[in-house]
């Protein structure tokens, strides 16, 4: 399994760089790391709102929300989510929030 080092802390990640142990290993330092690789210049309350919404939903459902639900709970249209997370809600926001990526017919 691959590991990623950031500010002296190491994380187990999967092939696509998602946290292998999900939210168990998630912390602010991880958010800072994904911010760097995502090319996000400054983390705002809006980013935080998306992260919180994702984590809260995940705790209740064991899966990432469908994008429309994420839009509804945060109040951000998909376009705005892409502005906040250039790689999109899955590869960007879910990665930052420590959620696994969804599989199946998607």
């Amino acid at each position: 399994m691959a590991t990623i080092e950031h500010n002296g802390k190491s994380y187990n990640v999967d092939e696509d760089g998602f946290l292998a142990n999900g939210m168990d290993e998630w912390d602010d330092n991880w958010v800072d790391y994904v911010k760097t690789v995502e090319g996000i210049s400054e983390l705002t309350d809006e980013h935080q709102k998306v992260i919180d919404a994702l984590q809260e939903y995940y705790k209740k459902n064991g899966i990432a929300p469908m994008v429309r639900i994420l839009s509804k709970t945060t109040g951000f249209p998909l376009k705005r989510i892409y502005e906040l997370f250039p790689s999109g809600p899955g590869k960007g926001a879910c990665k930052m929030a420590g959620l696994p990526k969804p599989t199946g017919c998607v």
Binding site: M1, D14, E15, D16, N61, G62, I63, M66, V67, R68, I69, K72, P77, P102, T103, G104, C105, V106
Partner: protein, 543 residues
């Protein structure tokens, strides 16, 4: 122009380079090893997923471990070769079709240029005949007299780690679409050969995560996405809100309802991701419009079956919940939604795997009284059969102009077209719900349809180049009708298609979007009491 002397040309044809490429193979195909590099293989199945599957009753997924295709050592069991050869023997004894397919190929090559992966990659081992030879050569070596005596001269070769790696590469560059089989004079089913190679690879712990994770999700939660019952219901309820916003009509689906007349099962992606969500809205609208007495199930919450892409036992186990739930709820029969490979399982295997479903009735439309004798045995009909019959009997109030933003063409999904002969119903529906649609050229539709390039669980992003190459023939045909007629919508009845054709179109023909058929049906329906907004993009309009 003077042509070269006959003996020279004959020599050139026989020994010279390809006229097309100027190059020629320097080695026999058996001596060209499979080389793995980033982008040409899907990630191996995660250890914990393999362990979970192996722990389940009736399933066997041995040798859970971490491994990587680029490594020399795949950490195979010590007696891996014995396992494979015994596995092949078992299957030859069990499946007469496999034995015939191993014996009867005359290597005529009719299949060679019919495969989308061969057309897209130019790799000779993607010619179906040669892909099958990867297995057939081993069969000859260990199971035929000629092979045992003559070895390589008879096209036989010993099973080695290199051969195993070749199987892994090419069994996962085949989508089991069976276009090649249409052209095979013997009707050899290449999909079954790929299935056998994949099954045998699983015997030694070689599989891919994009298939095994959905399969394990489906075993655990009832669906590939891993939607738990409350999440599944929430998602459908969310779509109910959307439908109300768009049409002003509140539809009222039920879940796990005993005594409903019909159980409805569709791929879980329909209630999770775009553009399948719009198809799901279409189902909700259609069933509401006719007042159908039906229920969704949060247990049998998946139409698709990634077991088909792993092995028979998994396919059977995952499929069993359909009949089990139908029996528990006491429904009369089942309607299945828009999914491709699901219908190969339902149409060709379910009845013998998990039937007979003698507790169900032969499907009869409660609206038209049409009896679907074609499903007399399985007791499960396709949504398009059901819808086409409603239209034929004039039971739907349709306003075609609501789809005037659409100029459609039709993608026959491999499994519904070649696997169950669903060719006319979708076209009949299109005739009746959109004003503008046109078929792609003859060689790219109906039985000869081209695959999306990402079926059989190959719809994962790490092999995107292979997917785009494999999908090129399909995209090329779409591009033709786009340029010639202004086609902007590619219709289909498959959840994998809805996801993968979207990527394919974005890449090759970005002007074209992908829509499920029932989305177009739902969008055209006039509902009683509706207060429909101006929907420029139909059900996709943001309001």
């Amino acid at each position: 122009m003077a042509i070269v002397k006959v003996d020279k040309l004959a020599k050139s044809v026989f020994q010279g380079p390809s006229l097309m490429t100027g190059s020629y193979p320097t080695k026999d195909w058996m001596e060209v090893p499979a080389v793995f590099k980033p982008g040409n293989f899907a990630y191996p199945a995660k250890k914990e997923k393999v362990e979970y599957m192996n722990s389940q009753q009736g399933l066997s997924f041995p040798n859970a471990r971490e491994w990587w295709p680029e490594d020399d050592d795949w950490k195979l069991p010590e007696n891996w070769k014995e396992i494979i050869i015994n596995g092949l023997k078992d299957r030859l004894d069990k499946f007469r079709s496999l034995k015939i397919f191993m014996d009867c190929c005359v290597r005529c090559g009719a299949c060679a240029d019919k495969c989308h992966f061969f057309l897209g990659t130019g790799d000779p081992k993607n010619m179906p005949v040669l892909r099958a030879e990867l297995l057939r050569s081993v069969y000859r070596n260990d199971f035929t007299l000629a092979g045992k005596l003559l070895g390589k001269m008879a096209g036989a070769r010993e099973m080695t780690v290199g051969v195993l790696k070749e199987w892994f590469m090419y069994a996962y560059q085949c989508t089991e679409c069976r276009r090649c089989s249409v052209f095979c004079p013997y009707g050899i089913d290449q999909a079954e050969i790929t299935m056998m190679m994949r099954e045998m690879l699983h015997l030694v712990g070689v599989g891919i995560n994009w298939i095994l994770e959905p399969a394990s999700n489906s075993n655990r939660t009832g669906n590939h996405m891993g939607l738990q019952p409350h999440t599944f219901k929430d998602n459908v309820d969310f779509l109910v809100d959307d439908v109300e916003n768009l049409t002003g009509v509140r539809v009222e689906p039920t879940f796990n309802r005993k005594g409903a007349e019909i159980l409805f099962i569709t791929p879980s992606a329909d209630v999770f991701a775009e553009p399948g969500l719009y198809t799901a809205m279409g189902y909700l609208i259609l069933f509401h419009a006719i007042g159908l007495d039906y229920t969704w199930s949060t247990y049998a919450s998946e139409g698709g079956n990634f077991g088909l892409f792993t092995n028979n036992q998994t396919m059977k186990k995952l499929n069993a919940k359909m009949y089990a739930e139908a029996k528990r709820l006491g429904v009369k029969y089942i309607i299945g939604g828009e999914c491709g490979h699901m219908w190969r399982v339902l149409h060709q295997y379910m009845d013998t795997m998990n039937g007979p479903a003698d507790f169900l009735e032969v499907p009869k439309s409660p609206i038209t009284s049409t009896v679907f004798d074609n499903a007399a045995s399985t007791k499960m009909i396709h949504i398009s059969e059901f819808t086409a019959d409603l239209i034929k009997n004039n039971k739907l109030n349709i306003d075609k102009s609501r789809n005037d933003h659409v100029y459609a063409t039709w993608h026959d999904s491999c499994n519904t077209s070649r696997g169950m002969g669903l060719l006319e119903e979708p076209r009949y529906i299109l005739d009746n719900v959109v004003n503008n649609w046109v078929d792609m050229p003859e060689n790219a539709i109906r039985e000869k349809t081209f695959c999306c390039g990402s079926g059989t669980g190959l719809n994962t992003d790490e092999i995107m180049e292979i997917r785009m190459r494999g999908g090129l023939p399909r995209a090329n045909a779409v591009k033709y009708v786009h340029e010639r007629y202004g086609v902007n919508t590619l219709g289909c009845v498959c959840a994998i298609d809805r996801a993968t054709l979207t990527s394919l179109m974005n890449y090759w023909v970005p002007e074209v979007t992908v829509a499920g058929l029932t989305e177009l049906v739902g969008n055209s329906l006039v509902l009683e009491g509706e207060q429909r907004q101006e929907l420029d993009e139909g059900l996709r309009t943001l309001v």
